[in-house]
């Protein structure tokens, strides 16, 4: 392909920048991960954490807490943060909509809805059952939103999509609350709405890894077409992108990543909104650069938010969804302020 020289230089610069930011992000992530192992109901010094990690001995209270409780939790936070950020990025690219985000569009409400029905029918649901229910619910909500978006006159504007997502979310939430009141599982469910990592286990981490492993090849295939899709469907299809297939694969990827995250930790909103925007500011809209940066920054954000959720109100844990909302709402407002005019 012919390219003007200046553009070529810019692209090389971006490549370098992406590498620098990704590496820097990874370093920060390691630091955040270690502090996530340090803090909790009892705090440990870095020395203790290092000793436990390096010596690998399986005895003593400290090593038990760090290896069996905090470690899986940290890993889960790391994975979910990345997953949600990538889902958000794909969603924003697919709908060309700055406000698209799995949490805001009612997908978590869908997961909670089917889950509460499943819990009502089978009280002691296995991890597999929970996951299946949450995935099914996420799929239903997603299909509803996509259908709605395609039926709106003149295309779904950001405002309409957000409103539709909110309405579907409220609808499903109302049904969920009614059902959970009936079967007396309200408090269990509320933890879902706020998102929580406090019950994360190695099983959850394993589950996330499996889903991620399925999604990654699809994601890599999607990077290029999604970048072209930014210029509009006509341009993309004239450049050889098969729109329908890309849309379908994108939705499947979002469902794999979001569905598994929601089934483990409940509704954690705003990560998928904030991170892709920041990544776009840092390295531009090319998905080949934006996705790696988003993944790292998403992980970083959620691990930090999780540390925050432990420290905000000790000895109680603040749901991590509350922490991300605290960060996300001002950012959302900022986006509205900046893009207010173009969002009709």
């Amino acid at each position: 392909m012919l390219r003007p020289k200046k553009n070529y230089m810019a692209s090389r610069n971006i490549k370098r920048r992406t590498i620098v930011i990704t590496l820097g992000g990874l370093l920060l992530l390691v630091a955040a991960a270690i502090s996530s192992l340090q803090y909790g109901s009892t705090n440990y010094s870095i020395q203790t954490v290092m000793d436990v990690l390096l010596s690998n001995e399986e005895s003593g209270q400290a090593s038990q807490i760090i290896l069996d409780i905090r470690m899986p939790r940290m890993v889960v936070a790391l994975l979910i943060g990345g997953y949600l950020a990538v889902s958000g990025a794909i969603m924003q690219g697919l709908t060309r909509n700055a406000l698209a985000e799995p949490g805001l569009l009612g997908i978590s409400s869908g997961a909670a809805f089917v889950l509460v029905i499943a819990l009502a029918i089978v009280p002691g649901l296995s991890t597999f059952g929970t996951t299946a229910a949450a995935m099914l619910g996420a799929t239903i909500a997603m299909v509803l939103i996509v259908l709605l978006a395609s039926y709106v006159k003149g295309g779904a504007s950001p405002v309409k999509l957000t409103l539709a997502g909110m309405a579907i979310g409220m609808f499903l939430t109302s049904l969920t609350t009614a059902i959970s009141l009936y079967f007396d599982v309200t408090k269990d469910m509320s933890f879902w709405y706020a998102g929580s990592l406090s019950t994360a286990t190695w099983d959850d981490a394993r589950l996330l890894v499996i889903f991620g492993a399925i999604a990654i090849p699809v994601l890599i295939y999607l990077l290029h077409p999604l970048t072209l899709l930014r210029f509009g469907e006509d341009v993309a299809s004239s450049l050889g992108v098969r729109i329908k297939i890309v849309q379908l694969l994108s939705i499947i990827t979002i469902l794999l990543l979001t569905g598994s995250s929601v089934s483990v930790a409940g509704a954690i909103s705003f990560v998928g909104l904030i991170v892709p925007h920041i990544s776009k500011m840092l390295v531009g809209g090319d998905f080949r650069y934006m996705i790696p940066v988003s993944t790292v920054l998403g992980s970083l954000l959620l691990v930090l938010a999780d540390v925050g959720s432990k420290l905000m109100n000790p000895p109680f844990e603040t749901p991590v969804g509350v922490v991300t909302a605290l960060l996300g709402v001002p950012f959302f407002l900022y986006l509205i302020q900046r893009k207010g005019g173009s969002m009709k």
Binding site: L99, L104, L148, Y151, V152, K153, G154, V159, K160, T162, L163, A164, M166, A167, I168, M170, F171, S174, L175, T177, A178, L181, Y182, T186, K187, S190, F191, Y193, A194, S269, F270, N313, F316, T318, P319, G321, V322, A325, L326, G328, V329, F332, L333, I336, Q337, G340, G341, M343, K344
Partner: protein, 336 residues
Amino acid sequence: MNFFRNRFFVTIISLLSLMMVIAVVSFNLGTVTLSPNEIFQTIMGQGTERSELVLFRIRLPAIVLAILVGIAMALSGVVLQAITRNDLADPGILGINSGAGLAVVIYISFFDVLSTNLPTFGIFLMPIIAFSGAMITAVLILMLSWRGDFQSMRLILVGIAINAGLSAGLIYFQLRLEPQDFMRTTVWLSGDLWAAQWPYVLAVLPWFAVLVPFVMFKAKQLNILNLHDDLARGLGLNVNMERLIMLFAGVALAGIGVSVGGGIAFLGLIAPHLARRMVGPDHHFVLPTAALVGALILLLSDTLGKNLLAQIEIPAGLIVSIISVPYFIYLLLRVK
């Protein structure tokens, strides 16, 4: 004009009679049933002690409350839609309900008033607290969406954002409560008209007595505000002042409604829409009609929620949402 006027009277009369029917039916349902005959006798002062207790102490306050809250939410919706010139405005969507709810939940969690019973003082304080919460939220939304002018879509988006933040705050405070209080606040926040006792009804009645007539008398101003700003100014209206006053009234109505009814979303959205379909766009007709439609929907939802399932009561607000969302989505598809 005459056509609309006639239609208005027909609509009002049919709504009122429908409301009577639902009220009688809801007397008739429930754990203790009263036949229409018994109801009539009791009202005439010839009922048994039991029927008097059930009718006047249990059923009647619930019905009056549903009607009052329905009116408040519907009028609040009419006012908000007129002053923002946005058909999708609703106190629930804009986060005003959450603001009122958050204020009350903070009050409950700090003063621990749910596990003990509310003292008399607290009963009268609740509406004021809910109102302050609603007002602070409204001011916040206005400040954040004001950029030299008033863009109604930005207002809605800011409302959604504020709503998300407040909901997170609600969860935070709710999780600090005792489990049984948690249940109660969850039910309360989904709009279950919990305050169905005379003291509560009397505590909010003065507010209604002031606000409802006030809004009703402002029909002309609302008509003008619904037009373009320049036109409104040309017609001799101090637009910003009038808009602020009406906003105050609309938010106050929503806050009072939430304080005794809990967070009932979408009612303020669909009641005005249905009213406009029935009697046209003139606020002289829309205001009373919407008030009645709101009261009717809430009364119906409350009756359904109490009797649909034998074991539990479903909060009326949930039924309202379940009924209204399909309509809202239909509106979303239609509105440009």
